[in-house]
Symmetry: C2
Subunit: 327 residues, 2 copies
């Protein structure tokens, strides 16, 4: 931190203004925040931690780090069918962190607060000798008993995903200079999908009454599908050719078919993966129009407890490595 | 982490069992937890972060680190007059952390969950190249509109503290071998007060209807009093001789009067400091008996916006350094 501001100065200057929408945060001057939960609502609570050098790079813009931190949690809230409400923030950072960094970070938070309707209500800021370590605990609201869980999938359910899959994993490769034959426009698009994922905060709550199980694609499409399968005691059949790809991803896969492994296995897309009865097919179009988001059916839940992936020729496809674990 | 367990193994083996009391935690198998807040209650939310080498030592027992982490937040919940309910946990730790460490840490959490009636509902476990960084976001429940705030003090209020003050600061000195002329019994007592502070989780909720302002003594008696003064736009007069000291602290101050600065300025006691109308004096005795906790009047809130400390002779005493800031 800068000597001129110190812990309390940093909080007062950069973080207190982020709590303006919630008087129960007391401008961060009290021990804790006090919030009122509307009756008839459940609270959904999720925690995510990002470490410099592991989940983001030292040279990443503080605005982008802020966006990533918030959006990872916003995506979890969406996957449970809840609307964003509040978040608490823990920042462990080096003494040398400049005011400019905090300024940029707070601006990033503010922009996302406006976009997604979530408000800072508390946190802790401490010094560390190690990498910048950020942790968020976010709360969302959902009608009592209506939250979407991972374990509600039924055999015969259609499997759906929002948006396009694989862009973030390709974007990470592009950002680190590992994709050669790609246009500047496509490269920019993929990198933006990696740096600023778009959590489906409008779609999630709409799904709360309509689907049986949901998860956000953070570990990777197949890894996250396996979480639904495990908790629901089911398996799945997936058609590779049905997986929705962006134009950029499509071009890359056409040029180099191996990239399909990255699309099936790469994480950080923060799209929603969900399973629903066939009746969902009748509402899908109106949802798509209303929210301006594409939804694509990519497979079927089955009672056999494994995931089978089929290629264009109807052959079973096996994936070398699936999913991301932190260690 | 150990190669045999990995992230999901660690969570399943050590952390899932800690969620047994709350089915909305889904054994940590979902994106987020879902909790139901009883109608008529407000939710109090607080975040605290502890960093290895700064807030605790590498060689501290994992059980004790767990206790410290939980109790810091439990103390904040108590200061707002709320009952402990739930917590989320963020752990950023080195890949080399052993299963034994996680086992001890989880045992420490479990012991405190039983003692204080709080339940783990979620979190995140990630790898870091830096020091172990732990962050907790805890939630408490309080009758709607009854939470105690820092800014409610009134001129003329009595100033009270629970328990004894200064033990933790003296305990830290004792633990690092900086207190010489002290008996083994007293040394042990002071160190235990530093290592396992006792948050006033029973007293806090009882105070919710009875007092005007409260804070927990974490930054130091005078520093925390100054937080009440600032947010309440008031000042305070404090009688040094009225500050409650343990037998161990009393002996040290008698031998070396300078230690009084440590008692006024040192933090981490996690006692409650609160201000109340004179009418509180009539209920103090019954509270004391019921909860088996001592309460001591140490001064008066005044309209003059400064804190004045008076010694035995009635002279004003000035403190060289007050309070702890993180940077």
């Amino acid at each position: 931190m800068t000597e001129t501001l110190g812990e309390f100065g940093i909080i007062k200057t950069y973080f207190s203004p982020l709590t303006a929408a919630e008087k129960g945060a007391f401008n961060l001057t009290d021990d804790a925040a006090i919030v009122e939960i509307p009756s008839g609502k459940n609270v959904v609570v999720t925690t995510d931690t990002l470490v410099e050098g592991i989940h983001f790079l030292s040279e990443d813009l503080p605005e982008n780090i802020a966006a990533k931190l918030l959006r990872v949690s916003l995506s979890d809230l969406a996957a449970m069918g809840s609307m964003p409400a509040y978040y608490n923030l823990s920042i462990a950072t080096k003494l040398s962190t400049t005011s400019d960094w905090f300024k940029g970070f707070a601006e990033g938070l503010l922009a996302d607060q406006m976009q997604f309707g979530i408000t800072l209500i508390g946190g802790d800021t401490v010094a560390t000798t190690g990498p910048l370590t950020l942790s968020i605990t976010a709360m969302g609201l959902v009608e009592k008993g209506k939250a979407i869980r991972r374990d509600g999938a039924k055999s015969g359910d259609d499997i759906w995903v929002s948006g396009s899959i694989g862009d973030a994993a390709l974007g990470l490769k592009a950002a680190t200079g590992k994709l050669c034959s790609i246009s500047e426009v496509n490269k920019k698009y993929l990198i933006s999908r990696y740096i600023k994922p778009n959590p489906q905060t409008l779609l999630g709550p709409k799904l709360a009454n309509l689907v049986n199980a949901a998860i956000d694609v953070s570990d990777g499409l197949i890894a996250d599908l396996s979480h639904i399968c495990e908790t629901s005691n089911l398996g799945a059949n997936i058609q590779i050719t049905d997986i929705p790809l962006s134009r950029a991803a499509k071009m890359l896969v056409t040029a180099k078919p191996d990239y399909i492994d990255l699309i099936l296995g790469g994480g950080d897309d923060f799209e929603l993966l969900f399973t629903a009865d066939k009746s969902f097919r009748t509402v899908e179009k109106s949802l798509t129009r209303m929210l301006n988001v594409s939804l694509t059916k990519i497979g079927t839940m089955v009672s056999r407890r494994s995931i089978q992936i089929f290629d264009e020729a109807g052959e079973q496809y096996s994936l070398p490595n699936i999913g991301y674990t932190h260690f």
